[in-house]
């Protein structure tokens, strides 16, 4: 049996799928899920200086039923675990999750031996698509995370990646 090279689905799109994904990527509606300090940076990103509206994501939906992406911005406590799982389940497909900040990635500064109440990372509860490290990440980092998610959805990056040096 010969080897078959199956291209990954990121490359093989039918034209309609391509159009749909372009539309989805350029109008990601986030769900307001600011839990802690990262929420402040998320609010700054929504403000006029950093402007998340350039990416079509200025409508933060209060209801999970109307949102595409859940930006988990902040610490998840064990008391909130059931609520956040319910909210994730209530989001309709296609849905994505951005883990913003160190607490959502891995428990952050609370990942110590005597941790008693913090869930160590959003990916312990549901699949995460993009991780944005930082404590808190700058608004530019959140925008970079949104661009990375767009790249994951469409296969193409909106603006070229800037390499330092």
């Amino acid at each position: 049996m010969g080897e078959e090279n199956v291209p990954s689905s990121i490359v093989q799109f039918a034209q309609l799928d391509k159009l749909l994904n372009l539309g989805r990527a350029n109008s990601l509606w986030p769900m307001t899920f600011g839990l802690a300090c990262c929420a402040i940076e998320m609010m700054c990103t929504g403000g006029s200086r950093f402007d998340i509206s350039r990416f079509g994501a200025e409508v933060f939906r209060p209801s999970p039923r109307q949102s595409d992406v859940m930006i988990v911005a902040g610490t998840i406590n064990k008391k909130l675990e059931l609520a956040i799982k319910t909210l994730y389940d209530q989001m309709p497909e296609p849905k994505w999750v951005i883990a913003m900040g160190n607490c959502a990635i891995s428990g952050g500064p609370f990942k110590v031996a005597c941790n008693y109440n913090v869930v160590e990372g959003a990916d312990k509860l549901f699949p995460v698509d993009v991780y944005i490290p930082g404590c808190p990440p700058r608004p530019e980092a959140l925008l970079e995370g949104i661009m990375t998610l767009e790249e994951k959805i469409t296969g193409k990056r909106r603006w070229p990646r800037v390499h330092p040096g």
Binding site: N77, K78, K79, A113, C114, N115, Y116, N117
Partner: protein, 166 residues
């Protein structure tokens, strides 16, 4: 204001040499403070007055503070493991007029930490006492709703005790 409060509070402590709290188990390394009111330097201690009272005097102190126009800022706990006591701290503050902050402390034995609630005088104490119960296990008598507030309701540990291991 300071003097007025001091005078009002000192009424509660008629005998100058009364014991501070029910005798704690364990050795007393530092000399136990006498019950009563002490004027402390604000810049160093963060409060103008420091009151050490018995657990059953807590409500009377709260009523005096309410009468003098103070509000309750916070209720917190301290675990003195070597003395086998919990200390409950009440922060009172005053807006308008002369600034005066009062810290009220009381000690209870660690095996049976029971304090009357002040939430009938200051409704704000409701949640602060729930938090102190949640993290130290201090029981507040006659509290309207003494259940956990920050940890999950079915948690069975008190994390801020010094002998807590997760």
């Amino acid at each position: 204001m300071l003097e007025k409060t001091l005078v009002a509070l000192v009424e509660l402590f008629p005998e100058p040499a009364s014991a501070a709290a029910p005798a704690g188990e364990g050795t007393q390394e530092a000399p136990l403070r006498e019950a009563g009111v002490v004027a402390t330097g604000f810049a160093k201690h963060g409060s103008h007055l420091d009151v050490l009272c018995r657990p059953d005097q807590v409500v009377a102190v709260a009523q005096i503070m309410d009468r003098e126009g103070y509000f309750l800022e916070a209720i917190s706990g301290v675990d003195w493991l070597d003395m086998q006591q919990f200390e409950i701290l009440y922060d009172y503050n005053r807006l308008g007029g002369e600034h005066c902050r009062v810290l009220v402390r009381t000690r209870v034995p660690r095996r049976e930490p029971v304090v009357p609630t002040v939430s009938h005088v200051f409704p704000a104490a409701d949640w602060h006492e729930r938090e102190t119960f949640d993290f130290y296990g201090v029981q507040f008598q006659d509290h309207p709703n003494l259940i956990r507030i920050l940890l999950p309701e079915d948690a069975d540990f008190h994390p801020l005790r010094k002998d807590f291991k997760p």
